[in-house]
Symmetry: none
Subunit: 417 residues, 2 copies
Amino acid sequence: MLVELVTTGSELLLGEITNENSRYLSKELNALGYSVIYHTTVGDNPQRMEQALRTALGRVDMVITTGGLGPTQGDMTKIIGARIMGLPLEYHPEIMDSITEWVAAHHGSRVLTENQKRQAMIPRGAVSFANGAGTAPGVAIQKNGKILVHLPGPPSEMRWMYKNRLKPWLMQHFKSQGYIQSLYIKIYDMGEAFIEEKLMDLVKGQSNPTMAMYARPGYVEVRLTAQAATMEAGQALLTPICKELQRRLQRTAVSYNNETIADVLGREITMRHMTVSAAESCTGGLVGSFITDVAGASDYFRGSAGTYCNEMKHKILQVSQETLDTYTEVSSQTAAEMAQGSRRLYGADIAVSTTGIAGPGGGTEEKPVGLVYTGVAGPWGTVTHKDVYPGDRMEVKRRAAVRAIYYIVQYILENSK
Amino acid sequence: MLVELVTTGSELLLGEITNENSRYLSKELNALGYSVIYHTTVGDNPQRMEQALRTALGRVDMVITTGGLGPTQGDMTKIIGARIMGLPLEYHPEIMDSITEWVAAHHGSRVLTENQKRQAMIPRGAVSFANGAGTAPGVAIQKNGKILVHLPGPPSEMRWMYKNRLKPWLMQHFKSQGYIQSLYIKIYDMGEAFIEEKLMDLVKGQSNPTMAMYARPGYVEVRLTAQAATMEAGQALLTPICKELQRRLQRTAVSYNNETIADVLGREITMRHMTVSAAESCTGGLVGSFITDVAGASDYFRGSAGTYCNEMKHKILQVSQETLDTYTEVSSQTAAEMAQGSRRLYGADIAVSTTGIAGPGGGTEEKPVGLVYTGVAGPWGTVTHKDVYPGDRMEVKRRAAVRAIYYIVQYILENSK
């Protein structure tokens, strides 16, 4: 079944908030096997709202709106929806009672405004969904083979209404849409185009499963999606491709689904009962922060020495003055000594270091903004990497930090069984 | 001028990411006085994409697309846009050269895939925007009184292209749209309700400027918006309110517009020719990372000592074993000694420390998850703060890091003229 989400509210068109409702409903509905093929956002303008709803009902089977069900004059979604579907609005005293109770319980007043009473108006013959997280009831209208659903706009209310009202209603009234299984693979050391050449033949010309690729800060994400009648059947379509992919990307650290590279580090380090530490210059602490985003990191992470100035690189990490004078702080030599210094200082098995030019200033002809040296020191010696990252200061820091953690994992995978 | 944003990519329709591009462009374009009246999201489906673009061009003056300019087969936006506008695509060797250079600089290879060559195809007569943050050039087509703009999809590339290419182009080629001036004030130590009481009478009953308030992680954001024919006129509406607001929030650190609390720290520290350092346990390096997000931080930031385990708190920061044994690492005493230790280690004027329980594990009856002690040590003595932050592990880290930087600023404002 094809679905369009129509979200309303000038907050979205003014760019004050991101459209979290569309993201949430898309993820939920796709998992149920519905195909969300359009998102539309329109403001509190009756004509445009009506046009948007008519367009949507003309090109999909089910339209779900969020927002515009509140008690204020601007809230008109339900009224316009009823007009388009050719249904009169009818007052439901029992809905009014539950609204009154909710207001009493949460605002301690039993006196309702005229506007609040409008919330108890429901299109004739429509299903109304009682709202357990607010006052505005949801509505579902079925007519001429089309379904029009209205949900409230505040994300917490909307999520409550979906989970407790719309989802059960959909599962009860419409036969299973089948399931969509997705597998996400994050690859940290190859470009999009290169990966496509490496993997595309796996799904070339196939419509099930399909492959898609996204450039993310510091890595590329590959998505494999299979559609099947059951979850098991979907998994059965993905497993062989996943195996082949692992074979082709052998020795390359990848993470799956919601795993971050810091999760992979935690897994690989814990498996080997090792500890890790860091020394950060241009990343300023972001490497340590990413590593400690993982619950339980305290079991293997000793800490990160932020040495933002040369004096501290020398004093805390014992980077030799000679190295700093000869090669400057942005060099593979300094990166190497920083990693070795962090390893000594924290008594860690493996230490990683970053030193570079995050920008916007400080770049030169031979040392441009985005140039970052990463060092990894451990039981198998010290290795350094040189990268030039695109993007602004925060982007460079982020890419450098993600990559630094990747280089630790790579160091482990290449040297240890 | 009426604008529609058409964002592409099945990742949006699958609910894998929120639509950050639409939020960013809406905010920027509204500030320039353009009216963004529709957001549309469509997947990598040629027919639907064409339909969405035709619909958009039929109802607004300017359509801006993001996504679908990459080197993979799925990337088709530019091709469909050119077809709709009736323009042939032409190969531009000079664009190919810059792409080749970029790939060489960032992936160390001069060999391009066939797919990458497609990025150098530009619709005849279109303006092409060289991409300084990636390979895909942007495109702007003007025909029959309509404007069609294509920008790349990855948010960092898209932002770079808007700031450095599209925005200047718009300001040069189109007369002023009238201006919407917004002033954003971030307040770090008061709740929404309290702030509303303090400020709401300033704009009560006014429609220009208007005030809105949003709860953000670690602070509350107040938005004042004025509409006027010129920037000066808009500013003239906001200035008196801003002045009054500064008077009412005296001695409370606030940041304006895109300023972060780390920007404020940089401003206040630089003004006083002071230096700052940190010592981090539960924030894992995020305080140092936030401070170094500010360009030029190297002038006043000495570094952050990540001491994730007690042994390092003692060894690197000289937190006394007695303190750790008597009060544990999550205590105001430890926070105080950590800050003093960091100040000594880095020879900084002021040092901040964080120690707490980020969760999900480790919480107890009297020391729950979210409990964080912050210490500030400097020329005016040592102060500590105790907070309990809501949210998951990353949420707690984020709130604690933002607040820690705020506490440094507060320490400076309260003690120094």
